[in-house]
């Protein structure tokens, strides 16, 4: 388990001013989960992540991994600790003078593995990431996605318990991103490795994370189940971050008509969404005018948003809204009602 305990990091910049990159961040990351950290550029995501393997020392608080205060490690202890944590990067950071196989072997050499073991395991790892046929080429002949696969093979070479990903897909096109995310998910499922993944794209979070932490200006503003954060963002910053997913634009004149409630219905896959809307029509004598809708997939679970206008008598409207609230994930009236 990774525990951020009131972690703060400040730098003095070139002008000598203090920059508080991370401010009093506390949360836990469970074993085996995939947790996303999102936030805008400069939010302190990388800095926080780097305290997990002491690439960065906290200036306040501590980062604890499996009961060990990371900041207290040094020398051989720190080196051994780092062998148990893999890391992949936006720019891949492969050694350009080593072949693909040598890059993977390098991680194992560092960890003091025997030649025999290295010779046995490197082909297995390249197989895992689908690069068995590129073992002897140099990184500069690979595509971005392939480079990141080498990075992943290298990062998991020593059977780490934790994999840190700093914008690992930000330099890749959408399709390659999906491939890499699928590979990460597979690794997580197969080996139970805890994955901490930084990204500025909520799309990435949606695809593979179970939980998400949102950072803004060095602070943790929100953390929770991806589905919950998605459907009920608490913090304004999160709402802004999510706005492109959730703001289904409807013409303003519709929101002004306060006799006809404009309702946003959010439902997840476990509810029989179609029947619910049909029931409103059938049971309450209310007309339902569907204005907008879309389905998102979060962790492969469908997550639907529907914007409808309800037309009917006040009593019927009240009843149907009541019914909707009880039977959907969330129902929200977008215009003011009297």
């Amino acid at each position: 388990m990774i525990k951020f305990d009131n972690v703060s990091v400040s730098f003095s910049n070139k002008k000598g001013q203090l920059v508080n990159a991370v401010k009093n961040v506390s949360f836990d990351i469970e074993d085996g989960e995939i947790l996303g950290i999102v936030g805008t550029s400069g939010a302190g995501k990388s800095t926080l992540l780097r305290t997990v393997n002491q690439l960065q020392l906290p200036t306040g608080g501590k980062t604890v991994v499996n009961g060990v205060d990371v900041g207290g490690l040094s020398g051989g202890d720190l080196a051994r600790f780092r062998h148990s944590i893999g890391m992949i990067f936006q720019q891949f950071n492969l050694v350009s003078t080593k072949t693909v196989a040598q890059n993977v072997a390098f991680a194992m050499e560092i960890a003091g593995r025997s030649r025999d073991e290295i010779n046995r395991r490197v082909p297995e790892l390249l197989d895992l990431v689908g690069l068995a046929d590129r073992a002897d080429v140099y990184p500069n002949t690979l595509s971005g996605g392939q480079k990141q696969r080498v990075g992943i093979a290298r990062a998991v070479a020593n059977n780490p318990k934790i994999l840190l990903c700093d914008e690992a897909t930000s330099a890749l096109d959408p399709e390659t991103t999906n491939d890499v995310l699928r590979l990460l998910k597979e690794i997580n499922a197969k080996f139970g490795i805890t994955i901490v993944l930084i990204t500025h794209e909520f799309d990435v979070v949606k695809k593979i994370c179970q939980r998400v932490a949102v950072m803004d200006k060095g602070e943790l503003v929100e953390i929770g189940d991806v589905f919950d954060v998605f459907s009920k963002p608490q913090h304004d910053f999160t709402k802004t971050l999510l706005s492109h997913t959730f703001d289904l634009d409807v013409p303003e004149r519709l929101t002004l008509d306060d006799a006809k409630p404009l309702v946003k219905i959010i439902y997840n896959g476990e509810k029989a969404e179609d029947a619910i809307v049909a029931n409103v029509v059938r049971n309450y004598g209310v007309d339902v005018n569907i204005l907008h809708g879309k389905i998102e997939y979060i962790n492969d679970k469908p997550f639907g948003i529907l914007i409808v206008q309800l037309i009917g008598t006040k009593d019927n409207l009240d009843n149907s809204l009541d019914y909707l609230s009880k039977n959907t994930y969330r129902t929200e009236v977008l215009n003011e009602r009297n």
Partner: protein, 220 residues
Amino acid sequence: MNETNYSDLFDNLLPAFGETLEMCGIALLLAVLLGVPLGVLSYITAQRSICQNKLVNLVVGFFINVVMSTPFVILLVLLLPFTRFVVGTSIGPEAASVPLGIVAIAFYARLVEGNLHAVDKGVIEASLAMGATWFRIVTNVLLPGAFSGMIRGLTVLAVTLVGYSAMAGIVGGGGVGDLAIRFGYYRYQTDVMLITVLLLIALVQVIQTIGEKASRKVQK
């Protein structure tokens, strides 16, 4: 203008060429043996580098700067006692190799340090994240990454040393450059000066070509 005795000149030219090669060769060897470690030391002990050490960094930097900012002729003279101590004499090509070697070490250390700085910092960070020691990073990442640049640096150094070696005549070092000065400059034998200078240009050209080829060959 004096009459040129060409057979006399060619009798002088061959040994002089040998002396130039000897002086520059020894200096180059010293540069590789000591300049590389010094350059590495300066790089890794710098602030925020992989083996930070203020004192060592200061001392190394000071040595390099002093040697590089002192005019070579003055260094030549200042180092006379040291030269005598090391090679037993302060005259001849071996003696001239000492100050030349020291300049070469300092000069090459700076070049190497520059080449190391050009190595991707991200890769160093990745290595640190894997738990690599500074020594492993130096041998596996930094030196291989800087290798082609270091060969190019060696070329630059060799060319510079050919120039410096001409001044070695002051301590009786001999060499082609010395010949050019003695015959061509002091005795106003323009043709001799021309021949020796052409020879130096040819030497430099050969070094440059070899260096470039080698550097390109090792580039990944």
